[in-house]
Amino acid sequence: MTDFLQALISGLGVGSIYALLAVGFVIIYKSMQVISFAQPALLVTGAVMVSYLRFDFGLNFWIALPLAMVLTALLALVIERLALRPMIGKPVFVVAIITIGVDIAVRVVVNRFIGLGARQVGDPWGLTIRRLGAVVVQERYLWMMLITAVVVSLLFAFFKYSRVGLAMRAAAFDQETALAQGISVGQVFALSWAIAGALAALAGTLAGTRAGIDQQTWVLGLKALPAIILGGLDSVGGAVVGGLAVGVVEAMVSRYQGAYFPWLGQNFSLVSPYVLMLIVLMIRPYGLFGTPEVERV
């Protein structure tokens, strides 16, 4: 039982990172119907900014983190305005490919700032562990869960109660009608990128706790893909559930597969989110919380 709880908490901790990333993907998808492959670059950018603000500008972690989120959001705005906005009206496939180009270009620049080594984000948790009864957990996992819970709650409140949030939901539902109601769809696009950028920065920073970030940290951004497919491409709640599910499944498979299913080979945990995704898609082709599309033929 102790093992199970330890695996569950570490899974939820890492899953929180995936959830933040997945929510960013979904927000952009809902507004633009495009999967943005630039999220990994924004993830690394945010974490690098935290690192520089912490160690080169001497800021406290709790100041550096929100500041880096704002700066990354601004970068995302610039990317959206320069590279994406002019592509409105083009096939979504083309736009998605452009986001891949943006991702590579941004990462090449950011890699210069990372340098040859690993950069630390200067988090306050370090190697600290907490003992909850017999369960030993890394403190950072508890913080990851807490921060994600707060941020996601704020996002839900924003979408539900704020005028801008309602405008974003309206534009996601039907752009033409939203336009007719005086909603600036262009601003919705921009805001969705900014929010996704800030979330990616937060996720990247949390991922950089303990071991730091290096030129390969961006790969983590791809873990959000099974999460969004699992949860449903157009569901923010689904992205959160998908992200947490991916984290927990990875942790559980990593903990128990060797003992119970050794014939699956080592490191099956890394494949497990995709297996879960396939199973869910066979039962619910639009993901757990996705909207089924009805097409008449």
Binding site: G89, V108, G117, L127, E176, Q215, Q216, N267
Partner: protein, 449 residues
């Protein structure tokens, strides 16, 4: 993205330009793309340095672009490395920069047999992808005499048959035992397999005779070679042995940490990337593990001493390496530091520099014999009995050709973390080889996939 009318396209062009620039990224001190220099495809009987020298591919009587010695001819060497987005870019860029500096120094000292050596015209990025590696190799093959660098073992495996067929000699940027069996590959230092045998010997002498050993490493020849070496040594010495294969990424190390804490081995032979190593060592230490980690040189990065795991690393980590680190006082290390100038110290530079010596020796021997053809270089390389590494490795480490059991170099150094050193590690035991390593018969590569 469906409602607005068409907009100006300048931004699209901007993105395209950014992509092109990223593909043509400067690697720190030189260009990473071809400059279109033409070389003679097959010139027989070219004259250089006052004597008749036979040449074929990749050697011209015309001077190199930006030649140091404008009267010299030019030998073109290719470099295929992981320069932008692959997993080893952080190491590959300094490796490549060191090699540029190495060959520039060779030219400044007069070149080889009346020829300057150009390693900057044919630098290609393999993105650590075997397919890309082969593709860029095919592009530069008609233009180069040999390869000053072919980075990675799965990538080099994709071109090894062609290298052999064409007699193209290459300096590797990897330490797999498979290269002991390929005459066209001029490896330097020992391989991971022998290295981990020696690590176990060090642990036995410094911890206890009766130790338990766990190998934790990445899949493939890197982790696999080291794990096999550790297994061979453990079996030979009657020690408990277990092995855990892990995957790249700090957040993917929970299983490895769990196995280490659960099995509590006396030593762990670690073959991962640096941030993974920090996650494993920090994670295991936080859960109470107090054994020793012996990490291969790619597990190390001086930045680890700034991570939250720094205290654990200082207490538990030792590094095994095929040669001494960046700050060592040998003529070779000093020449390297002087040639590469003011850079952030990194042992990628050291490796790139060391790997270049055997190729230089082979070119010199071939030029001496008046045969700078590909076959002439391959012949000269296979006859090398010693290489002058300027003290960075013993001369006998440069023996190529013949039975791998006789030619493989078996000594390593062991270092410990020391933040006062340029690359954060200080050698605590100079070159040594264990009995197991010395007696191990290299009848085939340790890791066979």
């Amino acid at each position: 993205m469906r409602k607005f009318p068409h907009r100006p396209r300048w931004a699209v062009l901007l993105v395209a330009l950014a992509l092109v620039l990223s593909a043509c990224r400067d690697t720190g001190g030189g260009t990473a793309t071809d400059d279109g220099t033409e070389t003679a495809g097959a010139t027989e009987g070219a004259t250089a340095g006052g004597g008749e020298v036979q040449t074929d591919v990749g050697v011209t009587e015309e001077a190199c672009p930006n030649a140091v010695n404008s009267d010299n001819g030019c030998i073109y060497l290719g470099i295929i490395s992981d320069l932008t987005e692959g997993p080893f870019a952080a190491l590959a860029v300094p490796i490549t920069d060191a090699q540029k500096a190495f060959w520039k120094r060779v030219n400044e000292e007069g070149g080889i047999g009346g020829y300057d050596v150009d390693v900057e015209s044919y630098i290609k990025d393999n993105k650590y992808n075997p397919e890309v590696h082969n593709q860029v190799y095919q592009e530069i093959k008609p233009e180069v005499l040999a390869l000053a660098q072919t980075l990675g073992s799965p990538t080099t495996a994709a071109i090894i048959e062609d290298l052999k067929a064409e007699n193209i000699v290459a300096a590797p940027a990897s330490w797999t035992s498979a290269w002991e069996f390929e005459e066209v590959i001029l490896e330097s230092g020992t391989n991971y397999c022998i290295e981990s045998m020696n690590a176990i010997d060090h642990a036995q002498r410094n911890i206890s005779e009766d130790i338990s050993v766990m190998a934790v490493g990445l899949p493939g020849d890197y982790g696999g070679d080291a794990a096999k070496g550790a297994e061979v040594a453990a079996e030979e010495l009657g020690l408990d042995f277990s092995s855990v294969e892990t995957t790249p990424g700090p957040e993917n190390q929970a299983e490895a940490v769990g196995q280490i804490v659960q099995n509590n081995p006396d030593i762990v032979i670690l073959t991962t990337a640096p941030t993974d190593a920090a996650a494993v060592i920090g994670g295991a230490a936080a859960e109470g593990y107090q054994g020793k980690f012996y990490g291969t040189s790619p597990t190390w990065n001086p930045a680890l001493l700034e991570s939250p795991a720094a205290d654990a690393i200082k207490a538990l980590y030792l590094q095994t390496a095929p040669w001494e680190p960046f700050g060592t006082d040998t003529p070779g290390h000093e020449a390297m530091r002087e040639a590469i100038g003011d850079v952030e110290p990194n042992d990628g530079y050291t490796s790139g520099w060391v790997w270049s010596y055997p190729l230089k020796a082979a070119l010199e021997a071939a030029a001496e014999a008046g045969d700078l053809t590909r076959a002439g270089i391959a012949q000269a390389a296979s006859e090398l009995e010693t290489v002058d590494y300027e003290g960075m490795l013993p001369e006998e480490a440069g023996r190529f050709g013949g039975d791998p059991s006789e030619t493989v170099y078996r000594e390593i150094v062991v270092a410990e973390p020391d933040e006062n050193e340029p690359t954060g590690v200080k050698v605590i035991e100079e070159f040594f080889a264990s009995d197991v390593a010395q007696n191990y018969e290299m009848s085939g590569p340790c890791f066979t996939g």
